[in-house]
Every structure is written in C-alpha cells, then in structure tokens.
C-alpha cells in the first residue's frame, strides 16, 4: 500500500472520464440483464448516443475492464459511502464485528449482478487478468480494515489482511450459489469463517507470548545465577 495523503487531493484513478460514463451505464442498467458481455457494452454505448463500436476504446479486453470497474467502484466509492451511512451502527462495535459488517456490505454490492458473477470470476481468472484481480482483492481487504479503524502496524497487518482476502473470496463464491432469502446463508458462512480465523489468530498469539515469556524468564534466571549473558 502506498502513501495516502490526508490533505492532498487523491490522484486520478485508473479509469478516464469517458470510460467511467460508459462503464457506469453498462454496470447499472445492462449487466443485470445481459451479464458481463459485449452485448451490455454495446447497449450502454447506444443508450448514451455513442456509436456501437465505442467500447473498443476500453482496450483489447473490454470485459475484464468492465469487471475491474465494478471491483474498483465497489471498493473506492460504494464501500466508504456505505460505511459512513452505517456510521451509527458501526460506532459501538469492536473491530472484528466492524470487519464483518463491512465485508457483508461489500458482498451485498454483488447482489444485482450475482447471477453473472461466476462468469465474471472466470474472466478474471485468466492469467493476464489475475494480477489486477489479486491487487483489487488485497486493496479491498486493506480498505475494510481501514474503515473498521484498525491501527495495527506490526506483522498482524499482513496476517489479518491475508486471512480476510481468503475469507472474502470464499464468501463471494458461496454467494454465487446461495438461493436463500437475502443471502442469509452467505452471511452465516462469513461469520463462521471470520470466527475461525479469530480463534486461530488467538491461539497463535498465545503460543507466541508463551514462548517469549519463557525465553526471557530463562535468560533472567541464568543472569540471576551469575551467568554473564
């Protein structure tokens, strides 16, 4: 993660103004009905009174760009604005529960297009698009912890975000086949995985503490016996 200035305006994102207009229209109006296909992009171009050929300015892989746009906007604009909307809810919760709520809010962003999401994941699993997808996932985990107010700057920074990335991927995949009301099963799945991760984290931390205390106690005992160490 690179330096994020608290006062300077943010640098421009990876999408130009023209791309943003086209992709937003495609994502909100056409993808829920037609999926992540060129059809959605052409319909979006037409509805904006552009030529049908316009999506070609998205580059050689327009579908991957569309999916990347969804991941990018869900992470950078939808999630922070949802977090501020739910600020009163988030207020009194401890950090693990805030993380759960924020991850759930992000998962819900996939609701309108969930029936096409497996197809989208297949596109992003192609070797040329994997780096983008992995980077977005890592930045999402960081964003969730940042919005949850986590201020740790030791190795747990890595373990927390790594664990959350894995859990998020699993929950997203689960959600694509979940037919329950309001995706409750996905929410329960998410909660179970997060609790497991917390338990494992707790065990590792306890073992580490024990080893540390035993070692320093041993050294101090030897010093008290006169061993010059």
């Amino acid at each position: 993660r690179t330096y994020h200035s608290t006062t300077h305006p943010p640098p421009p994102g990876p999408f130009t103004q023209a791309e943003t207009t086209l992709l937003t229209t495609a994502l909100t109006t056409h993808v829920p009905n037609h999926g992540f296909t060129l059809e959605s992009l052409h319909l979006a171009a037409r509805s904006l009174s552009l030529l049908d050929i316009s999506p070609s300015f998205l580059g050689p892989a327009p579908l991957a760009r569309l999916i990347h746009f969804h991941l990018y906007t869900a992470r950078t604009s939808s999630l922070p604005s949802l977090a501020s909307q739910h600020a009163d809810l988030l207020q009194g919760l401890p950090i693990p529960e805030k993380v759960e709520l924020l991850t759930w809010l992000r998962l819900k962003q996939n609701e309108p297009i969930i029936q096409h999401w497996q197809q989208a994941l297949a596109v992003m699993a192609q070797p040329s698009h994997v780096p983008t997808a992995v980077k977005e996932l890592a930045m999402l985990a960081d964003e969730v912890y940042y919005l949850a107010g986590d201020k740790s700057v030791d190795p747990s920074w890595y373990t927390k975000r790594g664990a959350l990335s894995g859990i998020y991927v699993a929950a997203e995949l689960f959600m694509t086949t979940d037919k329950s009301e309001g995706f409750q099963e996905t929410r329960r799945f998410l909660r179970r995985r997060l609790q497991e991760a917390e338990e494992v984290g707790g065990v590792v931390k306890s073992v580490g503490e024990w080893v540390g205390f035993t070692a320093s106690a041993g050294v101090n005992v030897l010093r008290s016996k006169g061993v010059r160490i």
Binding site: Y3, H4, S5, H8, P11, K151, V153, W157, R223
Partner: protein
C-alpha cells in the same frame, strides 16, 4: 509586499500577508472586518501526489519504522549486560531508549494515518536487532557504544537523504505555484527533530569510548554494512 512574488509564498507567509493586508489597507465602502472571528483560512491549492512520490514516501516511512523498531530492540538487549558491569550508565541508556521509543511511536502513528504497509520482514529485524544488541553488549561497553556509533552514523545520513528529498519535492511544488500543506511541513519538521536526536546519540556513544572498541574498524564496518543492507531491503519489501 509578499503579493509581488506569489509563486514563492509559503502557507505561513500567505496567512500573515493576509493579516497585514486587512489591517493596513483602507477599505472604503466594505464593512469593517469583524475582529472577533478570525478570517477564513485561505483555500490551499495542493497538488495530488504522483505514484512515484506516493511509493517513495511509503518506502521512507516503512524503513524509518523498521529502523526505530531495531533501535529500541538493540537498546533493550544491550541494557542488562552493560548495566551488570557499569551501573552508572543507567540514566544514559534509559534516556536513549526513551527517545527511540518515542520515535517508534511517531512512525507507528504516521504509518497508520497514511495507510502505509509496514515491512514484511518485521520478525526478522526483531530477531537480528536483539541479537546484535546482545552480542555487542556481551563483548563489552566499548563494543556496545561502537555499535551505537555505527548505527547512528548510518541513520543520520539516511535521514538527511530523506529530508533532502522531501525538501526537493516541496520546492518543486512551490515553484509550480502550489501550496505546501501542514502535512509535509510537519513531516519535514518531525524528521529533522528525529535526525537531531539520533546524532545526539552518536555524540553520546563517542563520548563513552566508542572509539576504544577492539577492533573498531571491523565492528563498525560490519554493522554499517548490515544497516545499509537492511535499509535497502526494508525500502522494498
């Protein structure tokens, strides 16, 4: 007056020139300025950071945090063996440790505020720093002081390079007509203060017979090379 050289105005000069303007220039039909409420601060024109600048700043903060972590662990490991032989050094060791702990706190909070990734080799640096501190302390007070001298020499040069780079960035912004916010003036001020305290530690180490360590050239050479390597790695990983 400052308004004749707008491009070189800093934020502080901007505010004071505005105050001067309000109090000395007669303003005919406009209502008298309300002296109870301060004038609104001028809107600052801040330039967005380029990706290179962002990654440079993040590598600076990452390396500084790693360095201060190593410093606190070195002092923690050095203190018991040294004090066993020379108990009169307790106040000095405590003073240096307290300053390093304060530096670590500063960088921890900067890293959290600016969402910088901490170094991935944190556990490795912890082990190496503790080992270095303990081994030099066991070799004797002079060796421990030579270790401090070597580390602080490297660190002093390293902070100087960072401050220089930040000042370059800031003058570039001023030359382009942008304002420099408090974020960066405070950062430069903090780095200067920390660099001065590190150089003070260097002076203390030399005062306490760092030069008398046997073999001085080997100890300082190895430790300085190790520091440079650790700095290089932490900037990237």
């Amino acid at each position: 007056m400052a308004s004749s050289r707008p491009l070189l105005r800093t934020a502080r000069q901007l505010t004071t020139s505005q105050f001067r303007h309000i109090s000395t220039t007669p303003s005919p039909p406009s209502p008298p300025p309300d002296l109870n409420t301060p004038p609104p601060p001028p809107k600052k024109k801040l330039k967005p950071l380029t990706p290179q600048q962002s990654s440079l700043l993040s590598s600076f903060l990452r390396v500084n945090q790693a360095g201060e972590l190593a410093a606190t662990l070195i002092y923690t490991a050095q203190t018991p063996p040294i004090l066993a032989r020379e108990p009169h050094l307790r106040p000095l060791m405590k003073h240096m440790y307290d300053q390093e702990a304060d530096h670590l706190r500063v960088f921890n909070s900067l890293i959290a505020t600016h969402r910088v990734r901490p170094t991935a080799l944190y556990p490795l640096w912890s082990v190496l720093a503790t080992g270095l501190g303990w081994s030099t302390a066991v070799m004797g007070k002079e060796a421990a002081m030579a270790c401090t001298e070597a580390v602080e020499t490297e660190i002093g040069g390293h902070y100087n390079a960072q401050i220089r780079k930040l000042l370059e960035m800031v003058t570039e912004w001023e030359r382009e007509g942008y304002d420099v916010g408090e974020e960066f003036t405070e950062l430069i001020k903090t780095l200067r203060r920390i660099r001065d305290e590190e150089l003070e530690h260097l002076d203390h180490a030399v005062e306490h017979d760092a030069q008398k360590a046997e073999p001085h050239w080997l100890l300082t050479g190895v430790i300085r090379a190790g520091c440079r390597g650790a700095i290089w790695v932490s900037e990237r990983v």
